[in-house]
Symmetry: D2
């Protein structure tokens, strides 16, 4: 179902080569000032055509807000934001399935009725409305002392080993997150080399995006099925290309002993705190008040120029596919504001 959330409800719509993509956001508190310039800036972070790593498709990604805002403030009624598709080069549907893409499963599910031009409703373009919704969430959260930032943790095997100290520090995290290339300067060049090499080979490369929410109070989330980890993961796995989600040290915890993985507790300013954050700010599905840390594995863009074995679904015969057109050799940098938006939406949903 295209609806997500408990206190906030998101309803998303649109296709890559249709008229528009958009989202209805219900449940935002009334009276919240929304800075339209900041929203536009956020949309720019995700928008295509900005550098040599992203598709040549150019979209201004400006959002028309149809409802729910009055004189720059939320009214309490649902906000509908619409982003028109401008540079959608209409083309006929290609019956040759792109390996690793939803072409195959859209066919299984919708029996040929899906509008699969440019990936249709399964396109990464659907993350533009998410970025819009996340931008509203971040503004509302900031006023409540909560800040959410994301960064590139790895690209094509090149990891950005931020110091643990930085990871618990809002300023350090923000500095990296807001860079044009949102990774540590020390990692940037190696990452870019990996992408360039893939691009030259007509190939693509994946990576890991990490997001952190600072200032989130303890006690958010519900026991069992309502765990904060369930909520965040369910939204992140909606983002095309995400194939793994982990909190805190995640899969590395599987190799640790309890004495390493447990975060020792102490008292500071009359509050309980943890000396480390291996559990990523969540215990028993409930936030601890430590930074909420989550990492998402982004698979390499399936659309590549290299020839691939595939099937022509019209004739049900095997064929070779070479995906031409405008494609990102690496979507990881553009995924950063999207993962950030997801975490912000989850944080706000939990907070309200």
């Amino acid at each position: 179902m295209n609806v997500w959330g408990n206190n906030i409800k998101l309803s998303i719509f649109g296709e890559s080569h249709g008229k528009a993509v958009g989202v209805v956001i219900d449940g935002l508190p009334p009276g919240e000032a929304i800075d339209a310039d900041e929203v536009a800036g956020e949309m720019l972070r995700r928008s295509p055509g900005r550098d040599r790593f992203s598709t040549a498709r150019r979209e201004s990604d400006s959002v028309e807000v149809l409802s729910g805002l009055l004189e720059g403030r939320t009214t309490g009624a649902p906000i509908c934001g619409v982003i028109r598709n401008e540079d959608a080069r209409s083309r006929d549907y290609d019956a040759k399935l792109r390996p690793g893409h939803a072409d195959w499963t859209a066919l299984l599910k919708f029996g040929g009725h899906a509008d699969m031009r440019g990936g249709g409703h399964f396109s990464g373009r659907l993350t533009a409305p998410l970025a819009f919704a996340g931008s509203l969430a971040k503004q509302i959260l900031r006023r409540r002392g909560v800040e959410v930032y994301a960064r590139i943790a790895a690209i094509g095997g090149v990891e950005d080993e931020m110091e643990d100290r930085e990871m618990r520090d809002r300023q350090g995290y923000r500095a990296v997150s807001l860079r044009d290339f949102p990774a540590s300067p020390s990692a940037e060049e190696a990452m870019k080399r990996v992408v360039d090499a893939a691009k030259e080979a007509g190939d693509s490369v994946g990576g890991v995006v990490e997001a952190a929410a600072f200032g989130l109070p303890g006690g958010l989330g519900e026991p069992f099925f309502g765990s904060m980890e369930s909520a965040v993961a369910s939204l992140l796995f909606a983002v095309p290309a995400v194939k793994g989600v982990e909190f805190g040290d995640g899969f590395r915890l599987a190799s640790m002993r309890g004495s390493e993985a447990n975060d020792a507790l102490y008292v500071e300013d009359g509050k309980i705190k943890a000396r480390t954050n291996h559990n990523g700010g969540i215990l028993g599905g409930i936030t601890t008040g430590m930074p909420l840390l989550v990492r998402a594995a982004i698979k390499p863009t399936p659309s590549i120029a290299r020839p691939q074995e595939s099937v022509d679904s019209a004739t049900m015969t095997e064929t070779i596919v070479r995906v031409s057109g405008r494609h990102d050799p690496c979507i990881v940098p553009r995924a950063v504001p999207v993962i950030e938006a997801c975490l912000a939406l989850c944080a706000l949903d939990g907070l309200l």
Copy 2:
């Protein structure tokens, strides 16, 4: 919220040292024969006190079904299964917080009103009702040609590298899954040594559980927020101790190129198939018909005998905690039927 599912609804309840744990399962199709012996066998797989790795607490974990079954068949009405707590040694609440445990967050959320004896509602004991629900789901799925199995993929850094061939083969997977120690014989000894070493050191160790659903038709799941990955992850992250979830090659995809990660397509018996299964049977959130493969990172049991820095929540002073009592040095083997149950419930929810 303690309710999960779309077509099936699960509502879970209970505390570790209260009267009982249980679950209400709504939405199962009517007329399905349920083999009570098979259910009992499944409960035994998860139950404590069976070997040297699990807690000495002994529970028969027999399920009393209060509703929804008539003469061994589902009626279409909700099934309520209740598992009484027999060996719950009542003790007073200990204000010393166990690091890595929900003691801290239960306090933040419920302000001291939670029944935290033995972990209370946050205890791993709540997975017994999940195993019960999963057992029903597996019986109903099998009749529809779908089988779900899980295995230990890693314990304490020791990985069980099953051959890729085996991973796509129902028989091979079942053989490993149904072993007393559900890992390949070649990995068993090394894994047990790691657990023994941790136990001797008064410590615990984590691991990775993998589950696979064979025979699932293509086309299950919904676009965007209703992705099968979102559904599976949201249920898995409800299981205590799960800190990471990945599908197919998961985080390893982040280091791959598109040409490696994309599963080449071909035609067999008039159907489209994939030569490899890096994407774990899901593309665009929709099942492909290939085996659905998911892995869950299980953190080491936080309850360990070794001294740990912590806080006494009654006095808000720092203290040293040594968790005595009956605790598993490694819960990974007992988590196998639970992760399996979760995947079965998701598969059935998607199929109905």
Copy 3:
């Protein structure tokens, strides 16, 4: 689906002649004292076998609470309450469909697999768990200044015309609601005569139950689909035998002019109030702070001794049915605490 609610989640289970009926209630605030004697008293109000109007089936309707309470207080975890069926005279399923009963539709839906002994999951006995949940809700609400009462507004065409003054007055309403026969003394005899006459004729009779919530703050409910009227009606129409729901003057508003139906506003103690309450405390789906007034039409019990034309579903032939056994000639008095419970649950769901 057998799950209801937004902030509270109710999950109900059980059959009339099975082992038990019960409910899981999730989302109650932690630390709320629950008076078990009061709960028992509420269960008695609804229980059968108390007077000449109700079925001779005798059930103590005592509730075993399996979870979520510790030393008489809510813990924040789900509460599961189980009510065993004691006087369920097991009998074989009768293929003769009772007109006006769910026998027919259970067959259509569950194809013969439903446990329809005594009405099964469709039985009015399922309202016992609702009364239990409502009893908890009423105790929690009272502590927040909200009281909910219900009364018999009509039986078999005999209406109880309480004065409008009384209807806005908590004390007057409570006095009537807590009577053994919860109607005005002036209406009691006429109502009882109608029931006796129906009983003598081997027939049954319906009525109207009205409930009022006093002290509810304004501003509860959500615009459009989340209207308080939608929430209350969706729960009331789950109660077997309810065929109509109206708020304030309800269907009588359809014959009024705007100048009569609009409630004139004034200021008292710095707050806006309404001089009349034709809209039943709700405008635009949101509570005004005036008493919330709702009425439910209860159809006559379908199980009657008089011969009726029907169908034998086993042979698909027409037949005559005479429903023998223990049946209420009028369930309206027993419906009073149930409708009250429903309104209390809605009020608490909106308030949290």
Copy 4:
């Protein structure tokens, strides 16, 4: 929450004097042909400015579909329909609360931040997107043999007593429903006189709308909380001005005996049928296969020219309000396609 439905999800947005109103409809089956002319015709049935009974505001109510349709067919992805507000005369917010209107409760809920120009998000204008969604539902239903029609059952106390025979007959119902004034010719003049009299007096008048779904299969709906009556009522009570909902004979059942209210059963063409339809096609919350009959009480439009006692919310002083501007003396005729749309959406939601 502004989201409704189980298999279909509706997400509605917009304000009376904002840019637009609209709806996102998710879950429609793929490949369904949608006749745009028929949609436009349906929008016209509800649109204002067509006769002397409705507001002079003129809106073409043409729908721009942003997503989910390709070459006139549903794709399976969500459909977003947007209806621009053309004749919205922008005016400042008036602090004088209109009695009987959501002005008061919007203030309680949103604290002055709501956009209440023209009723804002609480305006009857929000029913335009419902009519659009209902139009799609009706086209999809018709192809499955289900037809939904509504009619005026009463206006200002003048009832249209259609013969019981007609009420069970699809053709007779359709003929009345599709009239310009959707009531029996014999009732039309008396109804119009009542409206004219109210209009002359600067007043308004309410009524009752009845809707029927013909051809719906038996077995739709779920036991207990998922009853078809709960689903239909929850959607109808979202429609502004609806204050009562009843199924079949509804509140009249409260005065009947069981022997009158029970619908006698017989066999025809190998299927069980009912000789009468007092229960409105629903027993135990599940459809019987008889026509589903529902009636909604519509209160008189609260906006009237006559002076009314009220409060100025800016100064919190009592004042007299005369609502000037363009208002319907009777919205009942315009409510007919809306109630019809609601029933169609419920029928489709249950059928899928």
